[in-house]
Amino acid sequence: MSKRILFLTMVFLLSFTAYAQQIKTISGIVSDRNTGEVLIGATVAETGVANGTVTDINGKFTLQVEGRKITISYVGYRAQEISVQASETINIKLDSDLNLEEVVVIGYGTQRKSDLTGSVSSITGKDVKNFAVSNVSEMLAGKASGVFAAAPSGQPGAEAIVRIRGLGTVNDNNPLYVVDGQFMNSISSLNPADIERIEILKDASAAAIYGSRGSNGVILISTKKGVKGETTVTLDAYVGVKSSYPALEMMNSEQYYNFIMEAFKNDQNFQNSMKEKFTNQYKKGYNTNWWDEVTRNAFNQNYNLGIRKGTDNSRTALSLGYLDDQGALITTEFKRISLRFSQEYDINKFLTVGANVSLANGTQRDAGAVPNFGFITTADPFTPVISPLVDPSSENYQYNKYAPTEWSFNPNPVSMLELPTRNNDMFNAFGNVFATVKLMDGLSYRAQYSFERNHSTFKDFRPVYSATFSDDNLGNRESKYTTETKLTHNSNVVFNYVMEQRLSYNKEINNHRFDIMAAITYEKNLSESINAYKTTALGNESIYQILDAQTVGAQASGGKQASSMLSYLGRINYSYADKYLITGTFRADGSSRFADGNRWGYFPSFSLGWRISNEEFFYNLNTESWLSDLKIRVGWGQNGNQRIDANAPLTLVGTNSESQWYYGNGFSQGYFPVYTGNKNVKWETSQQTNVGIDATLFGNSLYLNMDYYIKQTKDMLLAMPIPSFGSFSNSPFFNAGDLKNTGFEFTANYNNSIGKDFNYTIGATISTYKTEVTGLVSEYLSGSVSRTYVGGPIGRFWGYKQIGIFQNQAEVDNYVDKNGKKIQPNAQAGDFKFAKLTDEGILNDDDRTFIGDPNPDMILGFNLGFTYRNFDFSASFQGTYGNDIWNGGKGGFVAGYDNARVEAYTQAWQKEGDNTLYPRMTNTDTNNNTRGSSFYVEDGSYLRLQNIQLGYTIPRQWIQKTNLFSSCRLYVSGQNLFTLTGYSGLDPEIGVNNPLNMGIDNTRYPTSRVFVFGCNLQF
């Protein structure tokens, strides 16, 4: 405030001296070009003269000038000079100078972006603001080159599967999440609104500082802290509607009836004993579309209140968030209340102490009572949701009202979701306390203790309910009623902590700049669980949904696991005259997950940068008009991967409650190996070389970045399936082989304006990667339908080539090998014809080959945005090109007790000459048409609009009248509004955790479409 008075005084004085001149009155608003936010306190001054003002709280200024030019400047923005001819109103957009002097978080420190020599992508909180997602990981889609994010499920709160630079191993490919220095396995408790910025360390020279855990890339999340300045209070809120899209179309009642009648026409048992009842079921006239019955338009709401404040010697931030994210599937929901508090004090000029604490309480009701989503789509359409046979006034009608499925094996899908009470509750406290000490000039010491304590409980109550079976019911009965209540109640506590001590030294001597860091960290992860089960309470009411109310069948179990890691690490950054940049890092990790001799791993990195644009000769080229900054980077480094079971080297012996044998007098407990380990298992290491170019062109309007990398992974850790005649209880960990991954990434961001009001930005990221397995302990690795061979990529689909449908018996009989022997002797007209790849014999497993590749040729991301006067717009897309998907939903076409996709009927082969997708309708499938074949493989290329947002900032003159807040923006936003794809399954964006099963689409919790309306208020 005092600053403003000073300026005003100056203006007042100067206006006298300038009186004789021709005075122009210039007024306007200063705002950020990208975000459209008004800038408060920006300096507006007449160029070259001591005449100026600052913008007020609405970004507005009025200045009287004599000269012809004014300069507008603001901290963090590039100054702008404007010519003024006469009195006028000018709205000025300032460009952030983040591209130039942006400071990025690099792990155990920060660095000027211009000094970076590794490959690091940054996403600021602004880039992902107002996204209607409950998990931070979902915001990464399409936002950075080399990063691909896809949700494994539409369950609210689910964490997306994130891949950085494709696949680097056949083991776990998940990146490491580090939140303010704390390693976190799950970030579902983190409120997206608390994020200040996200850094993605992609290449080894950047990630090597995380050593044994950096090989899949590192995602560093920095949360909002207090900043020096006046108290700011913000409120962000949205409400929205979520609905599922799209639905798989299943057969309706009539189609299903005809399908079964055709398929079972030769089944004597059906004809004799079931046909009549089956027909009666159909004739009742129900036609239930189960997908419609289990989905809904769900309500979503989210509120975030933030307060930030800072003085000369303390900084504080507080945020409070509430999220209620209902799922598109009935009963599913995720709620989170979060509180975050950050406080820092400069005790004296040497010592700063602080603490950051996050508390989050989450409740998730999931759809886990439905073992897989096939249960929903495949229920028979003859069954109504509510049984007409149960008297609505009868006792416990709410539990007993559901109609048991008439024909299907599995229960009524609505009852499976509605009847159980099923909640995952989570209380997570995480954060850190730290102290930094300035020891002497440039040398400082930091000690930090970071922790996470996550207490989760799981409670699943199954009520007593009866089923009223109709006279025509042919379904399985056992799973459709229960005679006693059942309660599962589990509790799990995870406690992780990291102790870190760090010394850093910064020094600038003439043109030499040093930044040296050395640290030692110790980390411990503990988890302990208690599981209880008991049955038979007096009733279903909520007072009985507790263990004490249950009376019999008590079972309890529990476990505990611990792992620890000790690390020594260091880094040297050196730059000479801002031209030559060198970074070297080293980390040694010792992990409890390996046996004694294999415990320690060493991970060095080295990288160089050359800022050509700062060279003398470059200035002489006079390119400044179009090329303002150019940097070349080269980096090399090693990383590790220790994502294996805590007990991986040990073979464990144990038992369980049902492992009791009766020898004649009471039971004896039997023991057997329950976990097979491998003593020889050692670190997986990846070595990566990266070459990159960063360029800023056309007056900072175009930013380009290109990276090329070669990543070689040695001793990939893999839980390798061993033939079952070895009788191992699990797939033990092996150092299964070597892999090479080469890739290219390109980022372009362009921003410009048309006229003075229309500013726009366009961004694109393109990434490609190619993996090649260079060595394996076995000749190949098997996924559920995929194989990985030496010389090829990970996880190509493996199976038979379906080359048509036999049109008549003659075609079957004439399909012979070189000896004239029938290749598919059990086939009939209407069955699939598969290619015979070997010379002779019947079709067998030697006739399988590669039938698809789930690895994309290209991963794409687009970001568009513009601002026009008070309007702002942004859209982001993610897509892949050239990948195949295994569409598991196409299966199930052999008639049984389950419904199938409508095409299994409408596209079924029925007579000679039919050119159809599906084979004949049968219930025995003697030709094994369902075998893994190219029938299931489809092109999975897609482009999805991940997020679109249109905002309107209410003009300040309206706001002023309310006297309530200083800015108000209203927006509408949509998540997942449309997808361009030729894929016929539910959703081409598939998050699969196991790389050996990549691209396999088994029907799952559907993705949702979300519309929200929200506001951003500043007080």
């Binding site: 069948g553 620890s564 464990l652 004649g664 061993i722 005649f725 052999v894 008639a895 003697t926």
Partner: protein
């Protein structure tokens, strides 16, 4: 400032040296600590027995489905042809290498073998009573041989594992020759003939494998190889020397709770229950009983064929204890049995557990012993071996012991309050067999075996070793004009395919059987 520096140095040192990287495996012991004491070996041996009854993956279920449903004795059943299609495929001899039922036989038998290998290997160095440890080893050897017997007779050449192996070794283990497998079976069972006799175990150990079990399996192995001389030798020991067993007076007693582990029982799996939430029972009866009778609600698999019914003389009392028919009613039931979903109208009596014996338990987890080998099997094997060795008149005695007992069996089941069919027995029912011609006596013994052991899982085994599996099945197909059996290929169908997953995981090191 100096003090602060010292503190910092100390803190660094503390963090560097004060932190351990040894984390225990809580709640479980490691193989290095286990297998040290007699008690451990005992627990590990129990762990081996348990492999015969992994919940929802019981060997007995697989044993009956493959042993009977692929023969002329039983149809697959279930709700329709597509219900448990892998068994339908097996019974039609359209067997793909991915067949799940085939894979289960392989997997369960190898689990048994590997757990036995642990016991045999570690017992030699374990501390404790050497005599007891030796008995544990012999029990494990008997069970291991039982496992290999089913593997070699079902798959032919199989990987031969004789001691604990690490995963790397499994990846490079090929199939061993049939002869090598039989050698191991023979040496294991010879060692196991030192086990206690059935009567010499205390009550607390009554269900353990015995010398009689070892000798029976030994005889079965010799019979399968066609070595009737050795078979006769051990069968004679059981029948004439050891005298560990005797036939019950009434055929029907065998499946009653009162006669569990009776004098006739050579090997029986005790599936007792004490808490319905702890799955120590069996679910085979649930699979094999009628689909729509309250209190039974089975899946209706394992259906006796018309051919089996017709094989009995109408006045054979054993019909009562092989077939459950519509209209039968068990004591204590209000609902009669209703076999509307059974293609032949029959269900499997020996696996139908009356509702009153399941009171307090779920219909799918049942306290019921699996009678795996009975003494009548031994007697009939002995008769068969004697006849093959040219001692036909000696053979008559033993086959007629079976006939006699059948004759003396009550045709009215005391456990049923109503019986749809009662064999009209007379004084002349089931006369003794008198044929002494080797060939006709062979036929008579084979037939008696079928009648006596019907639905008990051994039919496929018998037809295979008698080398008439193809003939019988093709005849069946022709007689009933059905696909079952029509497709039988003698060059292929005596053996099952090596599971494809096993071949895939070993890169085809395991070769495939002919024709698959």
């Amino acid at each position: 400032m100096k003090n602060i520096s010292i503190l910092i140095c100390l803190a660094f040192i503390w963090l560097g040296y004060g932190c351990s990287l040894d984390e225990p495996s809580y709640g479980k012991t490691t193989t290095d600590n286990f297998f040290q004491k007699e008690r451990d070996i005992d627990k590990a041996l129990t762990g081996a027995y348990l492999q015969l009854r992994t919940t929802w993956n019981e060997y007995a279920l697989n044993f009956y489905l493959i042993g009977d449903c692929t023969t002329d004795d039983a149809l697959k059943g279930g709700s329709s042809d597509g219900d448990r299609r892998e068994v339908f495929d097996l019974s039609n001899f359209i067997v793909y290498a991915t067949n799940g039922e085939v894979g289960r036989r392989w997997e369960i038998m190898y689990r048994l073998i590997n757990r036995c290998n642990d016991v045999i290997y570690y017992a030699s160095n374990a501390a404790g009573d050497k005599e007891i440890l030796e008995r544990y080893v012999n029990e494990a050897k008997a069970l291991r041989a039982f496992g290999y017997y089913f593997l070699v007779t079902s798959f032919g050449e199989v990987p031969l594992l004789t001691e604990p192996m690490v995963p790397e070794e499994i990846l490079i283990t090929p199939r061993a020759s049939i002869e090598q497998v039989y050698q191991l079976i023979e040496s294991d069972l010879l060692a196991a003939t030192n086990l206690p006799a059935k009567g010499n175990y205390s009550g607390a150990d009554a269900y353990r494998v015995t010398r009689g079990f070892a000798k029976t399996m030994l005889a079965k192995a010799y019979m399968f190889k066609g070595d009737y001389v050795n078979a006769e030798k051990y069968l004679e020991e059981i029948v004439e020397v050891d005298n560990d067993y005797s036939l019950l007076p009434d055929y029907g007693y065998n499946w009653t709770p009162e006669y569990e582990n009776s004098s006739e029982s050579v090997f029986e799996i005790a599936n007792k229950l004490y808490d319905k939430n702890i799955a120590t029972g069996t679910n085979v009866p649930h699979f094999f009983t009628s689909r729509n009778v309250p209190g039974y609600q089975g899946y209706g698999f394992h259906i006796p064929t018309d051919d089996l019914f017709e094989a009995y003389a109408p006045d054979d009392p054993r019909i009562t204890y092989v077939f459950v028919q519509t209209g039968d009613c068990y004591v204590g039931d209000t609902n009669e049995q209703d076999n509307i979903f059974s293609p032949t109208g029959y269900h499997d009596y020996k696996m139908t557990v009356p509702r009153i014996e399941k009171t307090g338990y779920n219909v799918w987890m049942i306290p019921y012993n699996i009678r795996m080998i009975r003494y009548s099997d031994v007697l009939l094997l002995y008769a068969e071996a004697l006849n093959e060795n040219g001692k036909s008149s000696d053979a008559l005695k033993y086959v007629n012991q079976i006939r006699e007992r059948a004759r003396n069996t009550n045709p009215i089941d005391p456990r049923r309050s109503k019986q749809a069919y009662t064999p009209p027995t007379t004084a002349t029912s089931l006369p003794d067999i008198t044929a002494t011609d080797k060939n006709s006596l062979r036929e008579a013994i084979w037939n008696e075996r079928r009648l006596e052991l019907a639905m008990e899982g051994w039919r496929r085994d018998d037809l295979s070793r008698q080398k008439r599996f193809g003939t019988v099945m093709r005849t069946y197909a022709q007689k009933y004009d059905t696909t079952k059996g029509a497709n039988f290929d003698d060059a292929r169908d005596y053996l099952l395919p090596i599971p494809q997953g096993e071949r895939d995981k070993t890169n085809g090191l395991l070769t495939q059987n002919n024709g698959y």
